[in-house]
């Protein structure tokens, strides 16, 4: 492409950051030093460079973590290296919350003020930070640091949570949870003075997985979680990779048959049968041979960003090889040779654990050109998101990996027809994949004995808010909401339960009267709720639910991608209407504003492109139909 750039030049540090992802430039046309004898008079490699467009997001990550913001010089250099117009590089970079497009101090404290943290004192924490450090967004610590409020960081079992990032030659990330004002201030000072620990966080199994290590419980999905440093050796000693060996014996058809017999439904929220997705790729396998350009892809969706959800983080931190084994079996079934893990940007420890697990698995021939010497070719690349909830939507995720703005695509075509790089693609959630080795080892029919007739198997729930022992819990499906809460020690806070949020911000509120609902797809649907991503967030009666609704509305306003009108404007008008209701300042009557909310909800549900807009009003509407909050 004949690209036009402004005069902004990259600094040596910016060049180094981009080159660390893309390698050194190959010629003067490509951002290297101009040498007329070698470069000639024409450039002809633009298209080749543009084929690497999917390196854009990693390059932007490198710039952000090296320089602290995405500078005009770095945008130009990245555009030149990848043959992407600078306006598009800017358009992509400005889509993501973790990138700053204007100068920002190198140290940033992201302090969560989302619903789970709100119930655990986040507001007081933010007010105290304001007193000590100044308002959010204003530089502090001699302009070397800044703090800002953040949406859910996925650390709800250890609320209130914060995360510190420091840009520089050796960038660092650090998780603080539970965080106090003192913790945050001293961690900021440490960061400014270059004294950050190399390890971003550590998984405390007792805290995050209260069931861990219990011998009485027959755990399936969480049974290996407990070690602070999971190794391949430990994983294999506990039966790891037996399932993959069995899967290789069974072959793709056998694997699909077992998973279909287990009736495994997706655990990311949409509950789509996993075997159906694999089958859809399996039947297209013959086309791979006919067309050498054709590929199948498998993506592990680890962009867990639903407020109140942290199960996938815990699974990846505590049992990374189970995710890899599940992916390898899925890839065998779907005929995919390349896999991606699209990991939420705010999960530094999970990123480190997964990256190391991939490395170890490659060395042990569990990934690569000839897995276990059985002729299976499969490898996995880890990609980190950059602070965009919408990228958990599968088609937005494709665009994000490909180096475009994370805007959802219209369906059809469905991912199994044209997904990542427009090739047939399977996307499975982390928890779904962790179920796979279990199913293969036990056999689909045996697995199907757990749960109820229509909701089969085990499920991991994320308990947070006013509960005695928050954390990740595994149950067989069909256990009632009440029993699950009892398993977690019962209602916390003041002990008087007001409401439970099921399924996250895109889920629904249920009242204490509905606690005997079995946790199954069908029973939750019957009461107008959903299991969603497994969120079970409790609120005692001291909580002002109106404020929680407002925070949910604010969340969607912040996270809508802005592509389609019903969602882009709808979520804003929804928040404004709620603000009026909460302030008691409706134009006419509260009933009229509630009616307006319902109409907007209907239009967003019906006319939005993707699930974000389609579910942005469900939690709010579920609360309006259960309680008279505004009369």
């Amino acid at each position: 492409m004949d690209l036009h750039f402004t005069g902004a030049e990259p600094t040596p540090a910016e060049r180094a950051a981009v080159d660390s992802v893309l390698g050194d430039p190959e010629s003067g046309w490509d951002g290297g030093e101009r040498c007329p004898e070698l470069d000639g008079h024409t450039a002809s490699d633009g298209q080749q460079r543009n084929l690497r467009r999917d390196r854009l997001l990693p390059a932007l990550h490198a710039i952000q973590s090296r320089v602290g913001w995405i500078t005009p010089g770095a945008v130009n250099y990245t555009g030149l290296r990848l043959d992407i117009p600078p306006a598009e590089v800017y358009g992509v970079a400005s889509f993501y919350g973790m990138f700053s497009l204007s100068a920002r101090p190198p140290v940033v404290a992201h302090v969560c003020d989302d619903i789970a943290c709100l119930t655990c004192g986040a507001e007081g924490l933010c007010q105290e930070l304001e007193k000590q450090l100044g308002p959010a967004g204003t530089p502090c610590s001699a302009r070397r640091a800044v703090w800002q409020r953040s949406a859910c960081l996925g650390l709800c079992e250890r609320a209130p949570a914060a995360m510190i990032t420091r840009a520089g030659e050796t960038p660092r990330e650090r998780v603080l949870a539970p965080a106090s004002v003192g913790d945050i201030v001293s961690a900021l000072n440490d960061a400014v003075e270059d004294r950050m620990p190399a390890q971003p966080d550590s998984l405390n199994a007792q805290l995050s997985v209260p069931q861990a290590g219990s011998v009485d419980l027959d755990l399936h999905l969480l049974r290996r979680i407990g070690s602070s440093n999971p190794s391949l050796e430990d994983y294999q000693r506990q039966g790891g990779y037996e399932a993959l060996r069995k899967a290789l014996d069974l072959g793709p058809d056998g694997v699909i048959r077992e998973v279909a017999a287990a009736k495994l439904l997706g655990r990311g929220g949409a509950a789509f049968p996993a075997a159906k997705k694999w089958e859809a790729l399996h039947v297209q396998r013959h086309l791979l041979k006919e067309n050498p350009g054709r590929k199948h892809y498998l993506i592990c969706n680890a962009d867990e960003s639903e407020p109140g959800t942290f199960k996938d983080r815990v699974l990846m931190e505590g049992d990374p090889f189970a995710v890899l084994e599940g992916m390898t079996i899925a890839a065998l079934a779907a005929g995919a040779e390349q896999g991606y893990i699209y990991l939420r940007g705010e999960y530094p420890l999970a990123a480190e654990r997964m990256q190391r697990a991939i490395h170890e698995a490659r060395h042990a021939d569990l990934l690569g050109d000839n897995v276990l010497g059985r002729g299976l070719k499969f490898d996995i690349e880890l990609r980190r998101g950059a602070g965009a909830y919408i990228c958990g939507e599968e088609t937005a995720l494709f665009n994000s990996i490909e180096g475009y703005r994370g805007e959802p695509r219209n369906k059809p075509p469905f991912p199994t027809q044209a997904g990542l790089f427009r090739q047939p693609t399977v996307v499975n959630n982390v928890e779904t994949l962790v179920n796979v080795p279990l199913i293969i080892r036990e056999g689909g029919a045996a697995y199907a004995k757990a749960g109820t007739a229509n909701s089969i198997g085990y499920r991991v729930f994320c308990l947070s808010g006013h509960v005695v022992r928050p954390g990740v819990y595994e149950i067989a499906m069909g256990v009632t909401l009440r029993s699950l809460i009892e398993l977690a020690g019962g209602v916390g806070g003041n002990g008087r339960l007001q409401a439970v949020l099921l399924g996250g911000a895109a889920g629904a509120f249920v009242s204490p009267k509905e606690l005997d609902t079995p946790l199954t797809f069908e029973d939750t649907r019957a009461i107008g709720a959903t299991l969603g991503s497994g969120v079970v967030m409790l609120f005692d009666d001291s909580v002002d639910l109106k404020k929680i609704l407002l925070r949910i509305a604010e969340f969607f306003r912040h996270e809508t991608c802005g592509q389609c009108v019903p969602c882009r404007v709808g979520v804003v008008r929804q928040e404004e209407a709620l603000q009026r209701l909460v302030a008691g300042k409706s134009f006419a009557t509260a009933a009229e504003d509630i009616n307006l909310l319902r109409q907007m909800g209907q239009a967003m549900r019906d006319a939005s492109i993707c699930g974000l807009g389609q579910t942005a009003s469900t939690a709010i509407e579920s609360a309006l139909s259960r309680w008279s909050l505004f009369s």
Partner: protein, 311 residues
């Protein structure tokens, strides 16, 4: 040169309305016909056609904002949504391809509600005063944007005037993506602008919002040609509107051929009081598909230089 075009057919839209039949494909390349039901009536359209094509064939008016025949459908405005039997949500008529046996409702209560809300959302957040399609659509769907109140969030912002040829008033932008497509692979391949930011603050921008003269812009004006709201406007039109002298009822339209090079682009010269105020090209012209270059679009000042001055 100032021969007025047929006045009865003179479109009021800023966007030229396609004229003449779409060129026919050769007989051998004829596609399979697919029959679907639209509002209870059977209609056949070629394979690959959209629900919008089928509705149009039946004479059913479907509102569109982000759709244009010459651009890849992005289906973002959602004003064309229809109810498809068996689908959980409404589907965009402009991009959903027909499949055998589809049954579609274009005027059900659900469709009307969504279209009404989409129009209200846009009209309450964007200045649609120069968007030709809006008054009729708003009336048809009984849209009342004022019910969201006066203090609601809008995209209001100062007009960007950074060159002599056209202005960008993003308070009038409904984010239909058409200008980005016209600047990019659907026409010009210049890529001076892209969608930036996210959510309600998503907007059309050059890199770091630099002024157009610093960007890759080549001033072809093809973005103006596709803008459905007047957010992108000839400087000549903008100045006349500011002075209160813009009056489309006094304007003539004359079709001619661009005099500059040998490509032979069709031009439509819009003149008011014998002065050229705007230049467009017909969308259905096989040479231009509505697109021009800087010379054809803006290089007509010489016409108005008096012979005496030329000496």
């Amino acid at each position: 040169m100032s021969k007025p075009a047929e006045s009865a057919a003179a479109p009021t839209a800023l966007v030229p309305i396609p004229r003449g039949p779409v060129p026919h494909a050769p007989e051998s390349a004829r596609l399979r016909e697919i029959e679907i039901q639209v509002d209870g009536k059977a209609v056949s359209v070629p394979e690959g056609a959209t629900i919008l094509d089928a509705a149009r064939k039946l004479g059913i008016e479907t509102p569109t904002l982000c759709f244009l025949e010459t651009l890849t459908p992005v289906n973002v405005c959602r004003v064309c949504v229809v109810e498809l039997e068996g689908a959980r949500t409404l589907v965009p008529a402009c991009s959903r391809k027909v499949e055998p046996g589809m049954s579609v409702k274009t005027d059900s209560e659900r469709v009307r509600l969504s279209r009404k809300l989409v129009l209200e959302f846009l009209a309450s957040s964007v200045d649609v005063s120069t968007a030709p399609a809006f008054p009729e659509y708003m009336e048809r769907y009984d849209a009342h944007p004022e019910r969201f109140g006066k203090d609601n969030a809008t995209v209001a912002q100062p007009v960007k005037i950074d060159n002599d040829l056209y202005v960008r008033d993003y308070s009038k932008c409904i984010l239909c993506y058409k200008c980005v497509e016209a600047c990019g692979i659907d026409a010009q391949n210049t890529f001076a602008i892209a969608v930036a930011g996210r959510g309600f603050t998503a907007h059309i921008a050059t890199e770091f919002d630099v002024p157009l003269p610093d960007s890759a812009c080549v001033y072809c004006g093809n973005c103006i040609g596709v803008c459905p709201t007047g957010a992108l406007m000839f400087k000549s039109e903008y100045d006349m509107r500011q002075a209160g002298t813009w009056d489309e009822s006094r304007q003539t339209r004359t079709d001619t051929i661009c005099p500059y090079c040998g490509v032979g682009c069709d031009l439509t010269i819009h003149a008011q009081d014998d002065k050229i105020v705007r230049v467009t090209s017909p969308l259905d012209n096989s040479v231009t598909h509505g697109n021009l270059c800087i010379k054809g679009r803006f290089g007509w000042q010489f016409v108005e230089v008096q012979p005496a001055e030329k000496k």
